[in-house]
Amino acid sequence: MIGFYLKNLIAFFIQPFGLIITSFVLGLYFLYKKDKNVLAKVFLSLSFFLLFIFSYPPFANLLVLPLENLYSKYDEKKTIKYIHVLGGGFNADLSQPISSNLMESSMRRVVEGVILQKQIPNSKIIFTGYNGCKNIAGSVMSSKLAIALGVKETDMIISTKEKDTKEEAEFTKSILSDGENFILVTSASHIHRAMLLFKSVGLNPILAPTDFRRYIVKSYIRMPNVESLRISQIAMHEYIGILWVKLKS
């Protein structure tokens, strides 16, 4: 548990938002110290520069493009039995409808999985993901939406133990027969790392990315916004994650 917090804490400080906050706080601190005016100027200007650049839409797009351009949407007409939809964030708030219980990325992954399941005869969806600290597992929440959209319960395999992508890969490996093809659905920015992890357990997925964050830049006159800062944050998170996977292997 402490390791988990520590990992999150370190991750916070090396990602855009954490960097912006840290240099802002340092700058303010130096501003109130005598004779540290130069340092104050440096840190505050750095903080503002980072805030501006990471929330400027074309720049966020530039960060996310290399990740998302590696693969495009699933567009084959193969007969494949299993579609593995990776888990993502959700809430268990009963005052919200199911369409609002899944976070944006999990929702898009489920919808992509359901569309593919409807297109491919006799296919089954695999939902994985644990409950975090809620009273329902992410995989069960995803399956509820799939059922509501018309997928039969017998066409789904649900597992509720997986804490990360590696464990999700291991679960699917236990289901497939040797060398069997399957489709992997996850967010476009996450799919490269997911593929590395699936390959590390000996699987060879056919990729079906969704939840793209890139956009077609039509004008460079854009106001900075929070959404772009979040996209920068997601992109940096993935770069660090990919580096981590490569270091470990």
């Binding site: 906050i21 005016n37 505050l44 708030d93 005052s95 919808v111 569309i115 959209l149 969704t210 939840d211």
Partner: protein
């Protein structure tokens, strides 16, 4: 066009993110001019605003005030028309249908489809705005069809630029009959005002809630919270604007 851009610029600077930016840039300008007293003041205001809007308890307070006005749909009514309000989309051909609608757009359409599937003989009204003449169905219609909605059950409007236009379109179809209105929970209070003011009788079906049940007190600076605050303030201003115009 200029008026539109001006409106964007002005609303940028009175919304949380823009306000923080404004005080931040002003503070740095003063600092570089060596007007330290005013620089400190401006930077502290920026920092305070940052703390406030990024604090989950505060952003949640702003959001729940709007979102709790209408509870989720109870799925019991037997109503013919379901109007799903439009949102943004991309035309990027490399993305699948599940990725083309904006975050609020996809949640709204899924909620509408779930209601449609429970009511026999119901119809979905989909409104949005497309600048160019289309050769094919709009993205939201394609997604509904891919998820099993019969294309004869969809009524399509593609020239509605704002919620007012959308209300006018639906009025021409349902008149003062009851119908289900699907939109984001934050947007629902304003949408209800606009629809009711035109004599329509919507039953609200909110989705895309931003409120959170569990927040981590550990998170003092939460990026999602700034986004929530921005959305909420945007809606408060929209409601004010709607009321001012009567």
């Amino acid at each position: 066009m200029d008026g539109f851009f001006l409106k964007k610029v002005i609303s940028f600077f009175i919304e949380p993110y823009g306000l923080i930016f404004l005080f931040f840039v002003f503070g740095i300008y003063l600092l570089l001019k060596n007007k330290n007293y005013y620089a400190k003041l401006s930077l502290l205001v920026a920092f305070f605003l940052y703390l406030l809007f990024a604090y989950p308890i505060f952003s949640n307070f702003l959001v729940t005030n709007l979102e709790n006005q209408y509870p989720k749909y109870n799925y019991l009514h037997n109503i013919k028309y379901i109007h799903i309000l439009g949102a943004g989309h991309t035309d990027d051909p490399k993305q699948p249908l599940s990725s083309k609608l904006s975050s609020d757009g996809i949640k709204r359409i899924i909620e509408g489809i779930l209601i449609y599937k429970q009511i026999p003989n119901s119809k979905i009204i989909l409104t949005s705005y497309y600048k160019y003449k289309m050769l094919n169905y709009p993205v939201n219609v394609k997604l509904a069809i891919a998820l099993g909605v019969d294309k004869d059950d969809i009524i399509i409007g593609v020239k509605q630029q704002d919620t007012g236009d959308e209300a006018d379109f639906t009025k021409s179809i349902v008149g003062n009959e009851e119908f289900v209105l699907v939109t984001s929970a934050l947007h629902m209070p304003r949408a209800m005002m606009l629809f009711k003011s035109r004599g329509l009788n919507p039953i609200p079906a909110p989705t895309d809630f931003k409120k959170t049940l569990y927040y981590d007190y550990f998170y003092i600076f939460d990026l999602d919270s700034i986004k929530q605050s921005s959305r909420a303030v945007h809606e408060y201003m929209g409601i004010l604007w709607t009321k001012m115009r009567g």
